[in-house]
């Protein structure tokens, strides 16, 4: 006979209760290990998604909206430290001719043979010819197309000139080509190529780089370089290496040799940074700004549509240096004598043709009318007043024809009537003599004003110079090129190396931690599982009470008893934990299956795979063992300590319970009525120590209650309704306070409870009979109902009224996004007329920069979410703010966006995005890099209640244009259409903006999409809560059944005394109903406090029906069990047998 022998015997003998105890531990283990497996698996899945979307690509080099020579892409890798390939990327709308299928936002990648080498496509090489395309599997699926089929690609046109540059036509924004599907690419073949940190699968089309260049009329250009570098190569190192490959033509700089060297930009306006560098390096350079004005007027005569140049040093006599374009570099470098005059503000020099046309002379006044252009091509006509200071002959004027910038649609127009300028041209105003001037002199400026005044009138976000003249007698073209290559830092014109792979993994790791999430969601199950374990263990120990006493009476040392009991418990715990490990795998599989399908809304991908890491399982195993053993050891220690004075083993068993049916407590009962305190020994101090403990318990309940009330009052007074965590803490504190109070109440000295000689009094006595059991039931039910009610109160109903301006719809009925930006202001009469837009709708067009999504739809942690910009006046009195920074104007919060505080741009976002998507709070800043290489700091000054803006940050259009000037056009549009037939409106707008890749959803659908994510999380939480509640119910049922078995003789006696079945049912119903109601009420009250803001705030849309249904189910569940168990058990008791046993 050994202790081990005894343990094995005991485990086998009590296998039922031991297995039940192990089951409780198994449940807790499954949840703990499941959470770890889910966390690992999601992490690995996201990392794998990064691998699929990038292949071997580690970095990209981009320059904002700029294009550069594709040789730059090739040259970057010449040092051999990495491989690179040029890419020309654009977007497209894909469709099948003759079909209604139209897929917007398709990413089109123009690639050459180098690309496959760089991207490391392992499966097979593919070739794409002219008019051919390789598409991703998902795009093929959406188009229902296969290899060999033809599709239409409407490609967003890319070029050197930024959208919305003044005088550039917006007419040809897209090009359509019919292309043949050469091959369909799987995700292993980079079909999921994407530079965005998102798990959502992109729609991709790959075309030949040269072909794409040809159809875009670009020549040999690219707008991205993809790089595959060694792990240790940092972005800065790559940038240093690539800078050597950079040439001025990569920055769109052109050098034209004529009488002098004219530096112009492909982008029409020369960037501020480039202007500064050139003027700084070449001191002799002459800057100029040439602008297209609407009219030049003198008295009643007017000359329409002319170019006017603003320049500081005007060369009156402009001798052409003796030069030969093909000659040596030094040829013509001698400085000729020139006659210059300085331009003064208010003066204008005009050419002879204009003087003749207007009949104007030196000293006469001249009015100049011109357009100033808003961010969405809004035109505001301005005028300037000048005095003619000089009239130059046409022979001199023609020398400046080169000053007219290259404007597609204008420079190459055969006649004035062919002009396509991007501004309205009044063709009636154009006379024959104007056509003749165009024929003879093209865009030769007709007038000259001072540069300062010209820049005041015409400067814009794209630049304030169009040409810089560098005298040829100082520098040759080659010298200028070399100097500029060295002096210009490409960073300042938007060239940037992006560590896409590292950032991708970083975003994946920083995103939603599903391990923590499911551990948090399952915490109540873990608690319930452990409580159930403790409960079952207490039954087990109760049954073995006599054995423990026997061991004590036989002189077993405490350590031996503990060893026997602990080893027994370890066996039970190990069984539970090992079973739990297996269950955890099944549980994780079930969760992943649900995530890939039923709960797709929260992950937006079906590519999640289960990955079990042994280290995580080991951690889960150890944690579970520790948790299980803590519970078990606590129970055993309590039992051993309680029975170490084993004298009662010699007592008459009739006295042992300390209970008599009359409800009186025997003298012995008073010795054990406070089992919690029985660990205290020593009768002399016992009374005081017991009282001290009682006071401590009561005090802790009071402290929790006061803390809860204090937090609640503070939150109410300061209207802090959008601090869910604080409210939850208040609720949990209240829950603790009530539970501790219940503990105190149940452990009160019995004599203090007043009672009458009634069934009710008997019921009360029974409750006190085993306070631990009664307390555990209350605790289990309180925890379960707390979780369920909190979940139910957070569940959002779909918003049904889209006209409320303060709601998440902002009072807008539709939100549209486009593949190709809309460059015009759709609210302007001309635009409405031109496009055929209905008059009774109103648009808010939003400009955008960056394209990462920080909404709840993205599992990755995004550092730079998409910026949306609009005039704050458009959003006045719309949406609701839930958090604010002192800089936010309380009266007109949106207006605060127009401010600029020491270069910091104020921004507003959804509070959920700030908190969860970005991991920040109001008052924090987001740092962006703009195309000038500057850091732009966005200060979050306000948080919105759930709105259609989720995933974005909003700034004012004025600040946007200052910091992100080249992002032109709007690709997000909000539409207010209150008085319109919505059906026809949807069809009309879809048709009008078809070529823009218009995708319009109702704002209600948009919000419902976001709500679906939240509700899916809540659904999971609810299921977990329901499971916790189920465990609570099981606990209650077990306790009821066990208690009834223990009290068989008592029931038999009561029946023998003439108690009717109804009396007994009433007795037990009252007993358990008291516990049930106490548990449910405790949980419900605390949960209602935790979710109070949801009831107080107007825009929370709590589902009252759902709440009612949940509460009803909870109550019905309890009532059924409280009736069924006593009836069944009482009926099963055989009166005589039970009495005989007694």
């Amino acid at each position: 006979m050994t202790p081990l022998h005894l343990i094995v015997r005991t485990l086998r003998h009590s296998k039922g209760i031991n297995l039940a105890t192990a089951a409780g531990i198994a449940i807790a283990t499954a949840v703990v290990c499941g959470a770890l497996i889910i966390g690992d698996s999601l992490q690995m899945s996201l990392d794998q998604i990064v691998a699929h979307r990038l292949g071997s690509i580690s970095h990209t080099i981009t320059a904002g909206e700029r294009i550069f020579t594709k040789d730059f892409g090739r040259e970057t890798a010449r040092n051999g430290q990495f491989v690179s390939a040029p890419v020309l990327k654009t977007e497209a709308i894909a469709s099948i001719q003759g079909s209604n299928i139209r897929i917007n936002k398709v990413d089109v990648w123009g690639v050459d043979s180098l690309f496959q080498h760089v991207a490391g496509i392992p499966v097979r090489e593919f070739s794409i010819g002219d008019n051919e395309v390789a598409i991703s599997e998902n795009l093929a699926g959406r188009l229902m197309a296969d290899t060999g089929d033809f599709i239409l690609l409407r490609l967003r046109k890319i070029g050197p000139i930024p959208s919305n540059t003044p005088f550039v036509s917006e007419a040809e924004q897209t090009i359509t080509r019919r292309v043949k599907i050469a091959t369909i690419l799987s995700k292993e073949e980079l079909g999921h190529l994407s530079m965005q940190a998102t798990q959502s699968t992109p729609l991709n089309a790959f075309v030949d780089l040269d072909w794409l260049n040809r159809i875009m009329e670009l020549g040999q250009m690219a707008n991205m370089v993809v790089v595959s570098a060694r792990q240790e190569l940092a972005a800065d190192d790559i940038f240093t290496l690539t800078r050597e490959a950079w040439r001025p033509e990569d920055g769109g700089i052109n050098l034209q040799e004529k009488d002098h060297i004219h530096l112009t930009s492909d982008r029409v306006f020369i960037d501020h940074y480039l202007s500064d560098v050139v003027l700084d390096v070449f001191e002799v350079a002459v800057p100029s700004l040439t602008y297209f004005v609407n009219s030049l007027e003198h008295k009643d005569r007017s000359t329409p549509y002319s170019f006017v140049t603003a320049i500081d040093r005007f060369v009156i006599d402009h001798p052409v240096p003796a030069m030969n374009g093909q000659g040596s570099e030094n040829e013509g470098k001698h400085e000729p004598s020139v006659t210059e005059m300085s331009m003064e503000d208010g003066q204008v020099i005009i050419n002879q043709w204009l003087a003749d046309d207007l009949g104007i002379h030196t000293g006469d006044s001249l009015i100049m009318r011109y357009f100033e252009m808003g961010p969405l091509r809004e035109l505001y006509e301005r005028e300037g007043h000048f005095i003619v200071s000089h009239v130059i002959p046409m022979q001199r004027a023609t020398q400046d024809s080169i000053l007219m910038p290259h404007l597609p649609g204008l420079s190459d127009a055969g006649s004035c009537r062919d002009w396509d300028t991007g501004i309205p041209i009044n063709l009636d105003a154009i006379r024959q003599k104007d056509e003749d001037y165009w024929d003879d002199y093209k865009g030769t400026p007709k007038a000259y004003i001072s540069l300062r005044q010209g820049q005041q009138m015409w400067q814009n976000r794209f630049g304030n110079l169009t040409t810089i003249i560098i005298p040829r007698y100082h520098y040759s073209t080659k010298e200028i090129n070399n100097i500029l290559s060295k002096e210009i830092d490409p960073k300042h014109i938007g060239f940037i190396v992006n560590s896409v792979r590292d950032k991708g993994h970083e975003a994946a790791r920083g995103g939603v931690d599903f391990g923590q999430l499911f551990a948090a969601l399952g915490i109540f199950i873990i608690i319930s599982g452990l409580l159930l374990t403790a409960l079952l263990l207490s039954f087990n120990l109760k049954q073995r009470e006599a054995q423990i006493k026997l061991f004590v009476s036989l002189g077993f040392p405490r350590q031996l008893i503990r060893k026997i009991m602990v080893l027994e418990a370890l066996g039970v715990t190990l069984t539970g934990v090992i079973a739990g490990l297996f269950i955890s795998v099944a549980y994780s599989k079930a969760i992943f299956s649900a995530l890939n399908h039923n709960w797709y809304d929260i992950v937006r991908t079906d590519t999640l795979i289960l990955h079990i890491q042994p280290s995580s399982l080991a951690v889960g195993f150890l944690v579970s063992i520790v948790l299980g053993m803590i519970v078990v050891y606590w129970g055993i220690r309590k039992a051993i300590n309680q029975h170490l004075p084993a004298r009662r083993i010699l007592e008459n068993p009739a006295k042992k319970s300390g209970y008599s049916i009359s409800g009186e407590i025997s003298p012995h009962r008073t010795k054990k009525k406070l089992p919690y305190f029985n660990i205290i020994t020593g009768d002399t101090t016992r009374q005081k120590r017991v009282q001290d403990h009682r006071n401590e318990i009561r005090l802790s309940a009071f402290v929790f209650f006061i803390a809860s009330v204090t937090i609640t009052i503070y939150l109410l007074i300061h209207s802090q309704f959008e601090r869910p965590l604080a409210w939850l803490i208040a609720g949990v504190l209240l829950l603790l306070a009530i539970i501790i109070q219940a503990f105190y109440y149940l452990h009160r000295p019995v004599k203090k409870i007043s009672h009458k000689n009634s069934i009710s009094a008997l019921g009360w006595r029974n409750l006190m009979r085993n306070p631990f059991r009664s307390f555990t039931i209350i605790l289990l039910l309180a925890v379960g109902s707390f979780v369920i009610i909190v979940t139910a109160a957070n569940r959002k109903e779909t918003v049904t009224n889209d006209t409320v301006r303060l709601s998440g719809t902002g009072g807008f009925q539709y939100m549209a996004e486009t593949t190709v930006p809309i460059l015009k202001n759709l609210n302007q009469t001309e635009s409405r007329r031109e496009l055929g837009l209905p008059e009774d709708i109103w648009f808010v067009q939003l400009l955008s920069a960056y394209d990462d999504d920080a909404s709840c739809l993205n599992l990755n942690m995004v550092a730079n979410p998409r910026i949306l910009a609009t005039d704050p006046a458009n959003l006045e009195d719309r949406f609701s703010f839930v958090t604010s920074h002192p800089w936010l104007d309380k009266e007109n919060p949106w207006k605060s966006l127009d401010s600029l505080y020491q270069g910091i741009v104020p921004a507003i976002a959804d509070q959920s995005v700030i908190q969860w998507g970005l991991g920040k709070k109001v008052g924090d800043t987001l740092v962006y890099a703009n195309t000038s290489g500057e850091e732009v700091q966005l200060l979050l000054i306000g948080g919105l209640a759930n709105s259609v803006f989720q995933g974005n940050v909003i700034i004012s259009s004025s600040n946007f244009m200052k910091h992100f000037p080249e992002n032109g056009g709007s690709d997000v549009v909000l539409i207010e259409a209150l008085e319109t037939d919505r059906q026809s409106l949807e069809e009309d707008l879809d048709m009008i903006f078809r070529d823009h890749g218009w995708e319009m959803t109702t704002t209600l659908e948009k919000l419902a999409g976001f709500n679906s994510v939240e509700n899916t999380y809540l659904q999971i939480f609810f299921l977990m809560g329901a499971f916790a509640m189920l465990l609570g119910t099981i606990g209650m049922v077990v306790i009821m059944a066990k208690s009834m078995i223990e009290r068989r003789s008592e029931i038999a006696l009561l029946r023998s005394l003439g108690y009717r079945m109804s009396h007994l049912i009433r007795l037990f119903f009252q007993e358990y109903a008291t516990l049930f109601i106490a548990g449910i009420l405790t949980g419900t009250l605390s949960a209602l406090l935790a979710t109070l803001p949801n009831f107080l705030m107007a825009n929370q849309n709590i589902s009252a029906a759902f709440m009612t249904a949940v509460l009803s189910v909870l109550i019905m569940n309890g009532i059924v069990w409280m009736i069924v168990i006593p009836v069944v058990m009482i009926k099963r008791i055989k009166l005589l047998d039970a009495l005989r046993n007694e």
């Binding site: 006979m1 005894l6 026997l550 009476s553 036989l554 040392p557 083993i649 010699l650 008073t670």
Partner: protein, 226 residues
């Protein structure tokens, strides 16, 4: 073992510290080694309390108990436990055999705490079971045996560590008269053969008839009636 009880008293208090009841009051008695003593008295008179005190399961409020001129009050808890395990045997009204263990294993249960050579213990267990007349049932579980057999196994368990003092609280209380008589005869035989001091608390006149001395306990006082 000689047990000398001098002026012991025991009072029970409730959790509020109020004196509930004085059970024993200035009680004196000497029990000589090898004597058979019966303690009789009405329910609640303090018989069990006296056995608890003698068996070191409880401590008196005042007075002392000496075992062969040795006091346990100076011992540590573990020493008391070892003392109880090796020198005192208990037989209860209910057998309290472990339902999961066979009779053989139940008898050997008190040998677990101390490193007694297993062969010697097992040999003694066999002898005791034979002495109790239940050797054939050694591999049966308690649930498979009669109350009398179980109670005899409980006696064997009490004797496995060769105690010098055997305390029995209503040992025949749950047995019929035939089994009660058999058990008492066994106890007397053991007392005689092993020279074990035997103290029995009982209501039964039949049981007291087997004893050398009979004491009556009432109102906290002990009086020898035979």
């Amino acid at each position: 073992m000689k047990v000398s009880i001098h002026n012991i008293s025991k009072t029970y208090t409730n959790s509020l510290g109020n004196i509930d009841r004085e059970v024993l009051s200035g009680l004196d008695v000497d029990i000589e080694s090898g004597q058979k003593i019966a303690v009789m008295g009405p329910s609640g008179s303090g018989k069990t309390t006296l056995l608890n005190l003698i068996g070191t399961l409880d401590t008196p409020d005042t007075g002392s108990i000496m075992y062969d001129n040795q006091m346990v009050t100076n011992m540590s808890v573990n020493e008391i436990l070892a003392f109880r395990n090796t020198r005192i045997g208990f037989v209860f009204q209910f057998h309290h055999l472990l339902p999961q263990c066979t009779l053989w294993e139940n008898v050997l249960l008190p040998t677990l705490p101390h490193k007694v050579p297993s062969n010697a213990s097992e040999q003694r267990a066999g002898e005791l079971l034979k002495l109790m007349g239940i050797r054939e049932q050694r591999n049966n579980l308690p649930g498979e045996l009669s109350g009398g057999e179980c109670q005899r196994a409980a006696v064997a368990r009490a004797l496995i560590n060769q105690p010098q003092l055997l305390l029995a609280d209503e040992p025949t209380g749950s047995l019929d008269s035939k089994n009660a008589k058999t058990l008492m005869e066994l106890l007397v035989q053991i007392n005689k053969e092993m020279n074990i001091t035997l103290v029995i608390a009982t209501h039964s006149q039949d049981v007291s008839g087997f004893m050398d001395k009979v004491f009556h306990i009432e109102d906290g006082k002990l009086a020898q009636i035979r």
